[in-house]
């Protein structure tokens, strides 16, 4: 019983962090057909801004979280204004932006290295203490991670479903030309999507570094897992990505417990290969079928 509780607690914590990190990546692919290779460094930027806001500027934790998310949003918007907006009408956009964001990620990672150094830092955005479920100790930090993640996902779901901007993002993702013909300014939508994705990546960086450590490469592993989750869910399928994130979190926790930490990533990659063979449009994706 304790084993099951331990796996569920760890799995939900991992799943919540992966979900927040993956929504942004999935939104960006859905709306722009853009694989954002700078996603990992946006995760790191969130972690470092939170660190700086609390330890450097003495701000309280909730404000630090907001600062980190604003920094991520600003970086996302910068990616649009400095790169994507000059390219997205080009037929080779998907390849070009992949290379550009890859280069940007290297530059920003080195910038972080220059400012903060390469030594791992402790993320001050954390709660002490915890409680017990049977024989399993559950840190409050894990509860905080799940609560913040779920709250953000609920807000995002409402935003996408109910607001004018959310509808415009969904419309653009489904049919760019048709959205244009409704008067949707596509460029502004792309900037908004990248800013939202940046803020979510930054939030995920704060949460992730609070249970690991902060280093310039902290975002690489979660970015890889976010790609895995996106492929399993079906690229651009935001709701599917949420389910897949929690499923992958639980799967990873179980593998870590029963087989060891080193087996988690290879087995996740095996699932991706299986998904690409048997359901290339994703577990939650749909084949394109048109009624006549």
């Amino acid at each position: 019983m304790d084993t099951a509780v331990q796996i569920v607690v760890s799995g939900l914590t991992l799943g919540a962090m992966y979900a927040v990190g993956t929504i942004g990546l999935s939104l960006v692919w859905g709306a722009l057909r853009m694989l954002n290779m700078a996603h990992g460094v946006l995760i790191a930027i969130g972690g470092y801004f939170s660190y700086q806001a609390i330890d450097g500027w003495g701000l309280p934790m909730p404000v630090a979280l907001l600062v980190a998310m604003l920094a991520g949003a600003a970086m996302g918007a910068l990616i649009y204004f400095c790169a994507a907006r000059f390219m997205f009408r080009n037929e080779a956009f998907e390849n070009n932006i992949f290379i550009v964001t890859f280069g940007l990620a290297i530059a920003l990672e080195n910038g972080i290295l220059k400012v903060f150094g390469g030594y791992p830092l402790a993320q001050p955005f954390s709660l002490d203490g915890g409680f017990r479920i049977g024989g399993v100790y559950v840190p409050w930090q894990n509860v905080l991670i799940v609560v913040v993640s779920v709250a953000v996902m609920v807000v995002m779901a409402q935003f996408l479903a109910k607001t004018r901007m959310g509808r415009a993002i969904r419309a653009t993702a489904q049919n760019r030309d048709a959205a244009l013909l409704m008067g949707v300014p596509i460029g502004a939508v792309f900037a908004q999507v990248l800013a939202i994705a940046g803020s979510l990546a930054a939030l995920s960086g704060v949460l992730l570094s609070s249970i690991t450590t902060l280093s310039p490469q902290v975002g690489f592993d979660p970015m890889l897992k976010a790609f895995i989750i996106c492929v399993i869910a079906g690229l651009g399928n935001v709701i599917g990505a949420l389910y897949a994130a929690f499923a992958m979190g639980l799967f990873e926790a179980a593998i870590q417990f029963f087989l060891g930490v080193r087996f988690a990533l290879p087995l996740m990659l095996l699932i991706v290969i299986a998904a690409l063979i048997w359901r290339p449009y994703g577990v939650f994706g749909k084949k394109q079928v048109t009624r006549l």
Binding site: A168, R170, A171, D177, A178, A179, L180, L181, V184, R291
Partner: protein, 238 residues
């Protein structure tokens, strides 16, 4: 004769440096229905895509109420009042009927009367009212076409560009769609309509243009077209 709301002046446009339209001119008077007919692949869809800003002109000009709109971004042309209902990829597939209609009212101008406009669209297209909560991908071809028209009407606008509304539909559905277009004409809407067939020209159009290989080769009243069997035979299969 009412003043021209939309004027195309000798426009040349195409894709990858291959011209599709080779100097097309036409006027659409306020409150009239102008129909462009012609064989498939001869530039009818490109003509509408030029007006709505999805295809750039190589030369020539397009004016709406006397103001140049060519070269503007497509979303700005929509806010000027040009509403384009394309022939395919019509609704946003994963959205409900009501969300699709709300997207039609995306512009600030259209949002002011959103409730009233939705009721008007449902009065005109009662099938959509029955399907209001249904996802667009589950609609039939005819219902999707109706949704595209309803979404266009939600945007308000000064002129409707309608691309082959009868394409791929059963005769009974075509009858319904043309009934809707006739109602819109009776309400004073300005419409630029393109079709492959001339069959409907006499019942709805005020003026007809025949587009062949990117050039207007005949223009006139619909009744005059019927007096030219050689044109109907050569270009439209009789």
């Amino acid at each position: 004769m009412a003043e021209a709301l939309l004027e195309l002046e000798n426009i040349v446009a195409g894709y990858h440096n291959q011209p599709v339209l080779k100097g097309v001119s036409l006027d659409v008077a306020e409150g009239s229905v102008v129909m462009v007919i012609g064989p498939n692949g001869h530039g009818k869809t490109t003509l509408l895509r030029c007006v709505s800003g999805l295809v750039s002109l190589s030369s020539g000009g397009i004016r709406l109420a006397g103001t140049r709109i060519d070269g503007k971004r497509a979303d700005r042309i929509v806010s000027d009042g040009v509403i384009h209902i394309p022939q395919s990829d019509l609704p946003f597939q994963d959205m409900s009927v009501i969300d699709n209609l709300m997207m039609g009212a995306y512009l600030t101008r259209a949002r002011a009367d959103i409730r009233r406009n939705i009721e008007e669209v449902f009065d005109l297209l009662p099938r959509l009212a029955e399907r209001r909560g249904q996802t667009a991908s589950t609609l039939s071809g005819g219902e999707r076409r109706m949704l595209a028209i309803g979404r266009g009407l939600m945007a308000g606008g000064r002129i409707l560009l309608v691309d082959e509304p009868s394409l791929g539909l059963a005769p009974i559905v075509i009858e319904q769609i043309y009934g809707i277009l006739t109602d819109l004409k009776a309400n004073g809407r300005t419409i630029l309509l393109v079709e492959e067939s001339a069959a409907r020209a006499t019942e709805i159009a005020d003026r007809v243009h025949l587009l062949d290989d990117g050039r207007m080769i005949w223009s006139g009243m619909p009744a005059d077209l019927l007096k030219r069997p050689e044109i109907l035979e050569t270009y439209l299969g009789g």
